[in-house]
Symmetry: C2
Amino acid sequence: MGTTQLETVPEPKYWHLKTVLSEALDTDFAVGEILPNERDLAARFGVARATLRQALEQLELEGRLQRRRGVGTTVAPPRVGVDVSASRSDWPGADQHAWQPTECTVAVPPAAVAAHLGTEPDERTHVVRRVRKGHDQPVAAELLYVPAASVPALPAIDAPSGPALARGVLRELARLEPEGQDRAVELGSAGAVDAKELDRLPGAPVLVVTTRYFAGGRTAAVSVATYRADTCRLTFGAQGDLEISHEEQRRAS
Amino acid sequence: MGTTQLETVPEPKYWHLKTVLSEALDTDFAVGEILPNERDLAARFGVARATLRQALEQLELEGRLQRRRGVGTTVAPPRVGVDVSASRSDWPGADQHAWQPTECTVAVPPAAVAAHLGTEPDERTHVVRRVRKGHDQPVAAELLYVPAASVPALPAIDAPSGPALARGVLRELARLEPEGQDRAVELGSAGAVDAKELDRLPGAPVLVVTTRYFAGGRTAAVSVATYRADTCRLTFGAQGDLEISHEEQRRAS
DNA sequence: GAGTGGTCTAGACCACACG
DNA sequence: GTGTGGTCTAGACCACTCA
């Protein structure tokens, strides 16, 4: 006898809240719609604001919500599929439409990047900053490290300069004969600069894509690109894109 | 005259804390070492425990720390590179060493998965649960949806069954002639089951890898695999692995 | 049982967007 | 100015691990 169900797992409040909210989003809200503010929501559910926020954070991490200070919390659109497959012609400089150079400096790359490039630990390289846009929104911010050896025709100019020089570096890079590339994806958090470029707050979750470009038997360039984890889904399509995100899979289940 | 530097950006405390802690980790701590407990750390830095925790959360998200209830906070080892490139022979059933089947059921897949598979919305498929291990640790939990049409030799058994039947399904799958695959990566949070399988708390950040396997002009199977985002770095190597993680790049800079 | 991280509360003030 | 989300505090209790 006794209880029909052993209450073995007292679910945390924020977890239960997240579930309830998630279902409400599916049924009662449209994409772009504004939710009630956090204080109201917390009161409505009878929890402290911090607890409510913990649930909202989870939902934002899953790409369901978008929160903007001074504005409010809105229902996020489904994640955008972004092609990052190596089979495409995405050798730096080839896809001028997607990536937009913003700056070009000469600096000493992080030691590990230098190791990839085969440059001396204190050797300076060109550093091109680029932004990738999609559907009006910035989706990724990139630092592209290009050693002088890869672009011998260019002088190493000390002073930071604009998109013009950046395009020059990319143009020179495009002359090389691509021999392949390497890619790795991991979770990270946006630094101050990247955050500004991605229109997010510092610390926002990002997918860090590190790419090595090979040419002439060497590593011709290394790219460290940070994609907005809240709005992006990285696709490595061999036979076309995955049209439906995990997010939508979950909703539909 | 006046201040030499306009204090334009009052950095949040937790952000500054994170930076300080990060540097301390680099210089004063070894991998696996236990940090002082949260109450002590908070007191030492003169902040509330919640603020200290916000900094620790960030560092955990970046794979620098590992926190375990009842135990303490330890310095995490560098992330493990996990190969998820499509070029490998990772057709389900081929790589028995990495993936370990734990269960096999018959169930109706989520609608979106059904759409990928081309099955009816209410049509049941085999569902194989697998776990991927690496260096003693579980790194990924997977649900593999296999429609009956892909494994015609097998009867659809209603009752859930163990690894034995799962291996049977995989064996049948391996008979098919692979025609390619599709892959997408996005950020998610672990559900209750996945969390248990990955030895993490529910809600832990994961990298969700959705794969479509093609054979016989159809989608033969769909896999939804969740990788531990804190400990894993997904590699798509065309010319070998990236040996050095973003993490280490940052440390070395 | 002692010590750890995980959850939760009820406040407060700040930075930002918008009218 | 008003309202929003972002940060921060100083507590409390709970769930878990381990000796």
